[in-house]
Symmetry: C3
Subunit: 336 residues, 3 copies
């Protein structure tokens, strides 16, 4: 089984062709034409952090496929887990991933893990230590339900939404930073940038200079885009909105001041005007607004945008259910 | 679907005739003669407040019908939800019901919501703002699992219990206030009063004057009772116990001092003798004791009452399961 | 139903013969040859304390058998429960087990309860007050998911593991105390000692003198061992490791200083060398290492033991699933 077993940690582990085939399957699942089942299978969902959409959509996905999902919340109803190797565990952590991952593998058919960054040093968080540990020690497929670096189920849902909106190679998507009262993780912007490149889109990351994304990630996405007919650029010029078919709003923290919240707040000061407003949308090519949710109204995006027909956020969230069903069917090798 | 979709927010949204037909269905479900199923359907249960009976009974109801229920607890494993419109969300709330309700509707077949009152101003709480917001923005049926004003699933269970006890038009029920260490919400007494009026019972609310119920609710229930052969009165005279077939014990806070706990405590001072005791029960017509649970023993009701054959509280709680199964079958339009 | 209904509170309620038959059934369940089902049945799991393995393994057990399990956490999403009889409930507890147990019995088919000791007085904890209260007031089978005194599902999994390892009457097992930063409950060592005696093993409890187990429990286990061809002894001499086929590591608190943590810490001072290391294992007869998990690495046991082929902890944890499926089938009288 080991030989064939596959984790799902990032869409970047898949080739653009494989992603393309996956989206075709997801569309079949959504249309109800894919009848494969996972009767009696159980997914475990291990949450180091809160969840609404992820938890509900995975649980419903499993039930609709004939199985079940069980949510486990670390540090709430269970103890904290240790990830570091070789440590003397005489502190707060009572169980090591080296036991937890294989034991859960004996009970479960697939294991989802959500682990946000610790937020102290980007050099540490960018290695995705929790997901990497589970992937190393689990005996069943591990699904990334959002880590420090990636939110690949969101990326799949976004790619399906783009497909449904008719976006193809060369179409213009603006991923725009927005102000927010605190520094947020980078998993969503990094995942959106990566999957847009895989889909051949013309992606611009619109952000103040202090909020530039990790240069290695940008370069990697640009290299993928070279092969798919897309492109990846960064700018702080709102003129980037012109011609956009999609404005994807999202806030994230500055890498310049990662782990230093007071310094980070200084970088954010004076940037409250970075909000997706009707004025921004008016500069686009009749763009749709996207966001991974949850979203702070009138902070990240104006009511007038979210409540207009241009908002695609609910359709986008619905697609989480469909892509996750398709993913579970792939990972668990279900037959029709 | 919108056109046919129906929420369940209060029994007062139903006519007495519809309630009567519903109880006949619930009795069929309880007897196991109603074989309808909800295979593969999923209920979401969104809890802003704790629950034992409600959560367990809805989950078992869905499983027994072939489906599943998933519990989501606001602020514990997920973030706080914003209800107010037009607000700038730069504070504690991270997601708005305008997104949460439609998104959950895309995953779920029915959405239960429990939201106790904020307890600051009755004028605000009596509008049931959280349930109203979900009912407005959800795309699937919303079930009130207890709000500021109503606990309609409890009311249905109570009505089924009265039916099983043989209570009919004109039979005497006393809803008695009891002392409690803190002011409790009004949803249960208001719901019991309303459903008793719908069932044509002769209901007396027995309470100290400072604990009178909302006069508009009393008047509305009395108007319904006019059409069903029942009656609704309030008194602070224990002589009301005479002739009672049921004593329904319950504590609630004073509307006179709503949101002012110290003033409220003053109104409760000296009222610890308001407890359902064997002496009280001895004044009735061999009445059964009812309570929605949880109940504080030897505070709201004496051990000697709860542990006697006159107690109907466990049967009453069991009926939550049966009425909720019947309700889910109605709302989801199941076929046999 | 009362007449035939049975709780599962401790393996010591079963005769050695019954335990032997049970393990044969568990092996059939594990091999997939026992096809009995529990379709539509629901287990409730009431947690007064955290859980990972227990919660997940029972939920998966029920789903694999065609049913479902619902987890309820006391004091988190629900209120605190009162256990004491005759009390005036004007304090923190809002519901009494006298209501909670029968009400849950009306919804559920079987009720698991986890309740760790209060840790104040051993004389109180050794009566297992919470489990006893549920057993007295529930109308469905109660399963002990770990109490003050017993962890019988763990004991069943351990017995199945010994059987799979080929251990039989007279084979040597060492249950060794280990240092830990705080005093832990006694349920696991007491349960392991008891079930080893029932299985006819030659059990030595290896511990510093201050960590001797309850003498009445030791005497009871020794008496059982007299009838099964086994033996039960206690020692603080590491020479006991010689000839051992299994070293079962576990920390527990001292009964000498029960409920007095500062005094207890004094008894533990200087005992950090009590850790299962490769040096300890080298003294055995090529023993396997067992532990109930969670385990603190390099505190209770060295990495070099846990990460070696001699570790049986993951297999042991897996067996929780299989024995619990067999147990649920027995308690719920499933037919094939």
């Amino acid at each position: 089984m080991e030989a064939e077993m596959e984790h799902f940690l990032s869409t970047t582990d898949w080739s653009p062709d494989r992603l393309d085939r996956f989206l075709a399957t997801a569309a079949e699942v959504k249309a109800g034409r894919d009848r494969r089942r996972l009767d009696g299978k159980v997914m475990g969902m291990l949450f180091f952090n809160p969840s609404l959409r992820t938890r509900t959509s995975f649980q419903v996905a499993m039930v609709q496929l004939g199985g079940e999902a069980v949510a486990l919340t670390v540090g709430q109803g269970m103890w904290d887990l240790e990830i570091a190797d070789g440590i003397v565990m005489d502190g707060a952590t009572a169980e090591h991933v080296r036991e937890a991952a294989p034991v859960l593998s004996r009970y479960l058919d697939v294991l989802g893990v959500r682990a946000f960054p610790r937020g102290r040093r980007w050099a540490e968080d960018r290695t995705d230590p929790v997901l990497a540990a589970f992937a190393r020690h689990a005996e069943v497929p591990v699904v990334n339900m959002e880590s420090s670096v990636w939110h690949p189920c969101q990326a799949l849902a976004d790619a399906l939404t783009w497909q449904e909106l008719g976006l193809g190679a060369g179409d213009r998507v603006v991923l725009s930073w927005a102000w927010h009262p605190k520094p947020l993780p980078l998993a969503v912007p990094l995942s959106v940038m990566a999957v847009a490149a895989q889909r051949g889109l013309d992606l611009t990351v619109l952000r103040p200079a202090a909020f530039a994304l990790d240069p290695e990630h940008v370069a990697a996405a640009a290299a993928v885009a070279d092969g798919t007919g897309g492109s990846v650029t960064e700018t702080d010029d709102l003129a980037a909105l012109e011609g956009a078919r999609v404005v994807y709003g999202k806030s994230w923290g500055s890498l310049q001041a990662y782990g230093r919240p007071e310094e980070e707040a200084g970088l954010r000061a004076g940037l409250r005007s970075w909000q997706v407003t009707p004025e921004w949308m008016a500069r686009t090519a009749n763009a749709r607004f996207m966001h991974c949710l949850p979203v702070r109204r009138n902070v990240v995006v104006a009511d007038a945008v979210l409540d207009s027909p241009s908002s695609a956020v609910v359709d986008q969230a619905e697609n989480r259910l469909h892509v996750q069903k398709a993913l579970l069917l792939e990972l668990l090798g279900a037959t029709s």
